[in-house]
């Protein structure tokens, strides 16, 4: 259910940049700290794109590994744990997130084909 709402937000961003052109590819960058399940997002996209009049738009996902800067030991580290944000070197919770919160549409591929009109109400 979460990914469905996210796909609707993605479609809104795409529409505002596609300027009515046919959308072939949508590229989305997702940080590891967003609670997004890629398979679920892709599945939801296959439904949402039809309702958003971009039925042929392929979703390409680019994932970003999380990284933190530890205020205790001063080191920057990549986070490999799926749950914990503790500094991997000294186990401190006093960390600043350097990467991993990204959630953006980076680019589109568009062409000047007529958009296919589907599910038009």
């Amino acid at each position: 259910m979460h990914e469905l709402a996210l796909c609707e937000a993605i479609a809104d961003v795409v529409k505002s940049h596609a300027d009515g052109q046919h959308v072939d590819v949508v590229r989305v960058r997702i940080g590891a700290l967003r609670q997004v399940v890629p398979e679920s997002l892709s599945f939801c996209w296959s439904m949402v794109r039809d309702f958003a009049d971009m039925p042929e738009a392929e979703l390409e996902l680019e994932s970003v590994t999380a990284a933190v800067q530890c205020r205790s030991c001063g080191h920057d580290s990549e986070i490999t744990s799926q749950w914990s944000l503790l500094c991997p070197r000294c186990d401190s919770a006093d960390v600043a997130v350097l990467r991993g919160n990204e959630f953006l549409v980076t680019s589109l591929d568009v062409s000047d084909r007529e958009p296919q009109q589907t599910q038009k109400e």
Partner: protein
């Protein structure tokens, strides 16, 4: 922010961003061979946050609160943790000295709004059931709609009771000044690690149902430790909405918050 510009003659400028260096050289963008149409694809840089529209609306909500001297709290939790019971007790306690408005997010019913009625607060019910099976969270545009049901100039504090869910509400700024969550000791002490986005985002955690600790195989200290692992700075308040234990600390926190004073 990378935007493409389309001119009257149909040309499109595709800005090149230095930080965006993906080389999709092996990706054939010319789909002309199977489409039957005349042209291939053109790359459009976007680099727009997917929540940009929501965040803009959240900013407008925040301005509406601030221009009326109102402080807004986003109250979140899993279903059944005791948000509405805590809110009922809170309205009874604060009713005399803090003017409270409640935005009540609920997928389909008015059950919670009914429980909160008659306690001196303005209530604006927000059913989210128009989405696919009901939205699982409140977003900023929904709160904008709900604000029409409140008379902000007469209020000090607005509590936005989000839909019960530990995942989605954490993602959406609705224009609040702080986020609070109710986390009950019946949920298991592993939840901060399983839902880190929510637990990291909040300013205060109400650890509810501590009256049940003698009947459960749990240790309140473990709950506090696990919250600290993902959020070292949040205020953690062990409470029982049923017996009233610990609730004074919560009321004090909320009074300070409503007055715009430091809360920690």
């Amino acid at each position: 922010m990378g935007r493409f510009h389309r001119h009257d003659d149909g040309t499109v400028h595709d800005h090149d961003h230095g930080d965006h260096d993906h080389d999709h050289g092996d990706h054939d963008h010319d789909h002309g061979d199977h489409s039957g149409y005349r042209t291939g694809s053109q790359r459009v840089d976007v680099l727009e946050a997917i929540f940009a529209e929501n965040d803009a609306r959240a900013g407008a909500n925040r301005e509406a609160f601030e221009s009326n001297g109102v402080r807004a709290l986003n109250l979140m939790s899993s279903p059944g943790s005791g948000k509405t019971t805590i809110l009922s007790a809170t309205l009874d306690e604060l009713g005399g000295d803090v003017a409270v408005g409640v935005i009540e997010g609920d997928i389909a019913t008015d059950l919670d709004a009914t429980k909160l009625a008659g306690r001196g607060a303005q209530i604006s019910l927000l059913n989210t059931g128009n989405g696919f099976g009901g939205e699982c969270h409140l977003d900023a545009p929904m709160v904008t709609r709900a604000l029409r049901g409140l008379e902000l100039p007469g209020l000090d504090l607005v509590v936005i009771e989000n839909v019960g869910n530990l995942v989605c509400p954490a993602e959406f700024d609705v224009g609040e000044h702080a986020k609070a969550m109710v986390y009950s000791v019946t949920e298991g002490d592993d939840k901060p690690l399983k839902y880190p986005v929510m637990f990291r985002a909040v300013d205060v955690v109400l650890l509810n149902k501590i009256d049940l600790v003698p009947y459960l195989d749990v240790d309140v200290e473990n709950y506090v430790t696990r919250v600290r692992e993902v959020n070292p700075t949040a205020t953690i308040l062990p409470v029982s909405a049923r017996t009233g234990a610990g609730m004074d600390a919560w009321f004090d926190w909320l009074r300070r918050f409503a007055a715009g004073a430091p809360t920690d």
